[in-house]
């Protein structure tokens, strides 16, 4: 009979759906918008990955990945970025419970680990350029520097953003605008780590195989 209707009514009373609850809070809207931006950023990276995968054999007689890449250095870079993603998560928890000192400590650790990653990457690039493996040398190296350099630029931007956010926490305190920006920063930093997972897999691990 009307049993189905009755069940529908009960469930609706108990838990209105997201659209019936009215407009979402600003935190949800802001974070969702940033989520869309991150996904479009990842789509841009997919084009760079595709270019790299297509051009990986086009070395034009120049050095190949197997000759250039140093896996020990890549492993340390990976460890730094993964650990910084973890401390970034701990920073989010500290922000959530308004612990100012813990926020500074974890943000500082995140910053230092990100900076170590960047220094190692720049040293790697400098070493490659010193032996003549510049972006102009071959299509493979152009694609490599574009892909890995673009990720490096994102990390640089993230470090600057983190420093700015800590200044805002210091000056403005944990007000809603600052908390929303910190949420977006955490999303950005974790997304960079996901891109790095694909980067070390495709470029440094698959790329050195014969």
């Amino acid at each position: 009979m009307n049993i189905a209707v009755a069940i529908d009514d009960v469930r609706k009373d108990a838990l209105p759906s997201a659209s019936e609850a009215g407009p979402a809070t600003k935190r949800i809207v802001v974070a969702y918008g940033f989520w869309i931006f991150l996904l479009s950023d990842i789509v841009m990276f997919s084009a760079l990955f595709a270019a790299y995968a297509v051009l990986v054999r086009a070395t034009a007689g120049g050095p190949t990945g197997a000759e250039l890449f140093n896996q020990a250095s890549v492993a340390i870079e990976t460890a730094c970025l993964l650990a910084s993603s973890f401390t970034c998560g701990l920073m989010s928890l500290a922000v959530g419970s308004r612990r100012r000192t813990a926020t500074y400590v974890f943000a500082g650790v995140t910053f230092v680990l990100g900076a170590v990653f960047l220094v190692l990457e720049i040293r790697e690039f400098a070493g490659m350029i010193a032996v003549g493996a510049t972006p102009q040398r071959s299509a493979f190296l152009s694609a490599f520097f574009t892909l890995v350099g673009c990720h490096g630029l994102h990390v640089t931007a993230g470090l600057i953003w983190l420093a700015v956010m800590m200044a805002q926490v210091e000056i403005k305190g944990f007000r809603p605008t600052v908390e929303r920006r910190l949420l977006c920063f955490a999303l950005f930093w974790h997304a960079l780590d996901i891109i790095w997972v694909w980067l070390f897999t495709v470029v440094y691990l698959m790329g050195v195989r014969p």
Partner: protein
């Protein structure tokens, strides 16, 4: 239990009652994520360097490990769940993944096909002379 159900912001953890308990359980979640991610990364580096495995299968194994690690990051660091309050986030993510697959796999497919059909250099030179 709240009487309205909002979407959850991407990156926000499920709201649990009790501040202190929430923080410590959050630390546990991040720690599980870190341990899993470190394990998968270490496995990737081992797989790439070992001679114990069948070489042609290694790239596929590396891809599977990367996909698994991406999942670990999404679940434990970005707190994406299959719950109804996460539907919008998951749908956006699914669309992003679709575009990424089309761009990457499509480019590789087309370029491999073009490479295979390219005229060999000696034939090309012959053409140039006429």
């Amino acid at each position: 239990m709240t009487d309205t159900r909002y979407d959850r912001a991407p990156g926000d953890r499920p709201a649990l009652p009790g501040m202190e308990e929430e923080t410590s359980s959050g630390v546990v979640v991040y720690t599980i994520g870190l341990v899993l991610a470190v394990g998968l990364t270490a496995t990737s580096f081992w797989v790439a360097n070992t001679s114990l495995l069948w070489p042609p299968g290694v790239p596929l194994g590396l891809a599977v490990l990367a996909i698994a690690q991406m999942g670990v990051h999404l679940v434990f660091f970005l707190h994406i769940t299959s719950g109804p309050e996460n539907t919008n986030n998951v749908l956006a993510l699914a669309f992003g993944v679709l575009i990424v697959i089309i761009v990457a796999a499509g480019s590789l497919w087309i370029m491999t096909n073009l490479n295979d059909n390219m005229m060999p250099p000696e034939l090309m030179n012959l053409h140039m002379q006429h």
